[in-house]
Subunit: 235 residues, 2 copies
């Protein structure tokens, strides 16, 4: 008889290999096959923070990368997810212990959940293992009490108006913005209107390229890249 | 010469011992003294999820509990934090490797940050190690894609009106509520007005007493305890 395992979705955290959970690490250690996403840039190169985390943790032979194009049109990405879905189903039926990894947390803005949902629709046992979101690692890196007591916290994935930022902060809501490149002007405006707020800016937390700044003079003119995080506090 | 270490604030995650990060575990393994908060209930008993996590991970000899009264008046709690602050300073000056632990993430609604801030004001090196927030572990337990693509996420620590809930959800903002006992009527109202939304309710995720329900029939009448989490999605 073949032993069947649930297909496990292991969250790797945002970049620092040691920020994986013990539970996630044990799942990787038990895996026969680890599917790992790699981003394909337009010049045909492939880059994967998830792969670099896995390699540093000592996993390479069991790792199988799949490529995701960086493209607004999600057709090719979905095709790639479909292929992983099919392969993982087949491997599991053969008795293999299959893991699929995600950067950050697999439940927070992670398109890999598409595979999870498809497997679940087929009544295949799946398990999701929590990971550290990038903004939590960012706050820890800067030693922040991100949010306390009665304060609220809003997480915004890029698109936001200066008026909305104003309203959140006026009502004691701490703001976390990801994909900052999508709202550069709005954030600059917020810094100019409210230099009294605290702005904490992060790139590549937990990696060699880690960068942190809380200088409003710098941040009100900076061109933020896509993968960056800002935490704004009202006082 | 005495080696001095930074005083490390290690986040333990919400309850399941294996949800600690590898980085947090290594910090605990290197510690000479681990300060651990225990809640003192009004009948004089003491309970600590942090302690039970530490014990399961194999730490006991190096653990020193300090008691925090469950009381709206924070005077006694602050006195307790002051004592830990003083002790950790002295131990560090003697060359000991000191760790202070927190449930969940030390930067997210964690009053232990009071000690961190005081040490930092004294120019004592401190380090904060990220942990899994309770709502992230809850989402993983239920296999949720908590938030995706352009959606926003608001985290509310208890107090909220039914109108505010309405507004967030109407504008594609996923709602996470903690300390649900503080807004039972408002949440019941939201369920009655919007039975079409998805309500995910959690208690004690990752512990023996774990409880999950997404039944609106049950949840619209339930008396939620203080330590419970709800995730509401609009569709």
């Amino acid at each position: 008889m073949i032993t069947t395992h649930p297909i496990r979705f292991v969250s790797l955290g945002p970049g620092e290999p040691d920020l994986i959970t013990l539970k996630g690490l044990k799942a990787l250690q038990g895996a026969d096959c680890i599917f790992c996403p790699a981003t394909m840039t337009q010049d045909g190169k492939s880059s994967s923070r998830a792969l670099s985390i896995l390699n540093t943790l000592g996993f390479s032979d069991t790792v199988q990368c799949f490529r995701l194009p960086m493209d607004k049109d999600r057709t090719l990405a979905l095709r790639s997810y479909e292929a992983v879905y099919e392969s993982s189903k087949i491997l599991r039926a053969e008795g293999q212990n299959v893991v699929i990894v995600a950067e950050g947390d697999a439940g927070l803005y992670s398109s890999i959940h598409y595979i999870y949902d498809k497997l679940q629709q087929d009544d295949i046992p799946v398990e999701q293992i929590a990971g550290i979101p990038a903004f939590i690692a960012s706050g820890a890196m800067a030693g922040l009490h991100i949010v306390s007591q009665e304060e609220r916290l809003i997480v915004i994935p890029g698109h936001v108006t200066a008026k909305e930022l104003d309203d959140y902060l006026k009502h004691q809501t701490v703001v976390v913005i990801m994909k900052l490149s999508q709202c550069i002007d709005e954030v600059h405006q917020c810094i100019i209107n409210h230099p009294e707020y605290q702005y904490h800016y992060f790139e590549n937390v937990g990696t060699e390229k880690e960068y942190y700044s809380c200088s409003t003079e710098e941040l009100r003119e900076k061109r933020y890249p896509y993968f960056s995080v800002m935490i704004i506090r009202f006082g």
